[in-house]
């Protein structure tokens, strides 16, 4: 039985690392092994929105948010192996991000592939949740709103 941790964080906050702090995905993101190093940029007034700006490619930036913004009950179980890879101590909670993308008029969140970050070391990994009830295109908002 592996240790599991519910990744809790203040409901809609994004991690505040400061723009000088580089988040590193040792193996990149799923299907994008070169996407390794990012700054997390947040703005004060945003509805819990952030941008992962690639350190190595000016043109590459991912929109992200706290998955609890999308689904307040969202939780991720981390295996012992993942906790070890991330360098998380026994009671230490990781920070979670989910990427946002647009499909037609829908903004969707990838809840099956969360980005999990060690808040102290900024070591990160993208998990893929197996047999999950979550989807890679969880609807969040409509881009075109009718008045």
């Amino acid at each position: 039985m592996s240790a599991s941790a519910d990744a809790s964080t203040a409901p809609f906050d994004l991690p505040q690392f400061g723009p000088e702090s580089i988040i590193t995905f040792a193996h990149g993101l799923v299907g994008q092994p070169e996407w390794k190093r990012f700054f997390l940029l947040t703005s004060d007034d945003a509805a819990g929105l952030g941008v992962l700006q690639s350190v190595d490619d000016d043109q590459l930036a991912l929109m992200v948010t706290n998955p609890r913004q999308v689904l307040p009950d969202y939780s991720v179980e981390l295996s012992t192996a993942d906790r070890s890879l991330l360098g998380l101590e026994a009671n230490q909670q990781p920070m979670l991000l989910t990427t946002l993308s647009v499909h037609g008029t829908q903004i969707t969140a990838n809840l099956v592939g969360p980005l999990v970050i060690n808040p102290r070391t900024r070591v990160a990994k993208q998990l893929v949740l197996p047999d999950s009830a979550y989807t890679a295109r969880h609807p969040v908002a409509s881009v075109a709103t009718e008045n």
Partner: protein, 86 residues
């Protein structure tokens, strides 16, 4: 790609720590048993492709990020009991 043929109840060893066993074959479905350390993730390819696609789609140019930010601010918050703002 290494191509091997196995019958039901036959096993493959991958490295020292991984075994894959064909548990059964039923029509076009093959049941596989996988023994691997917890550190090895086992993913259906379809899910892998979905996450890869979501990553690619999340790489968004700045003007479109503004559009998304506006839509996200305008949406009803999960604990917001007011009506959606027009």
């Amino acid at each position: 790609m290494l191509v091997l043929t196995r019958k039901a109840e036959q096993t493959l060893h991958l490295g020292d720590d991984i075994r894959i066993t064909v548990l059964g074959v039923d029509g076009d479905r093959v049941k596989l048993g996988i023994e691997a350390p917890r550190a090895i993730s086992v993913l259906r390819h379809e899910v892998y492709l979905q996450v890869q696609a979501a990553n690619t789609a999340a790489a968004i140019a700045a003007p479109d990020r503004q559009t998304i930010a506006a839509a996200m601010r305008g949406r009803q918050q999960p604990t917001d009991t007011r009506g959606v703002r027009a």
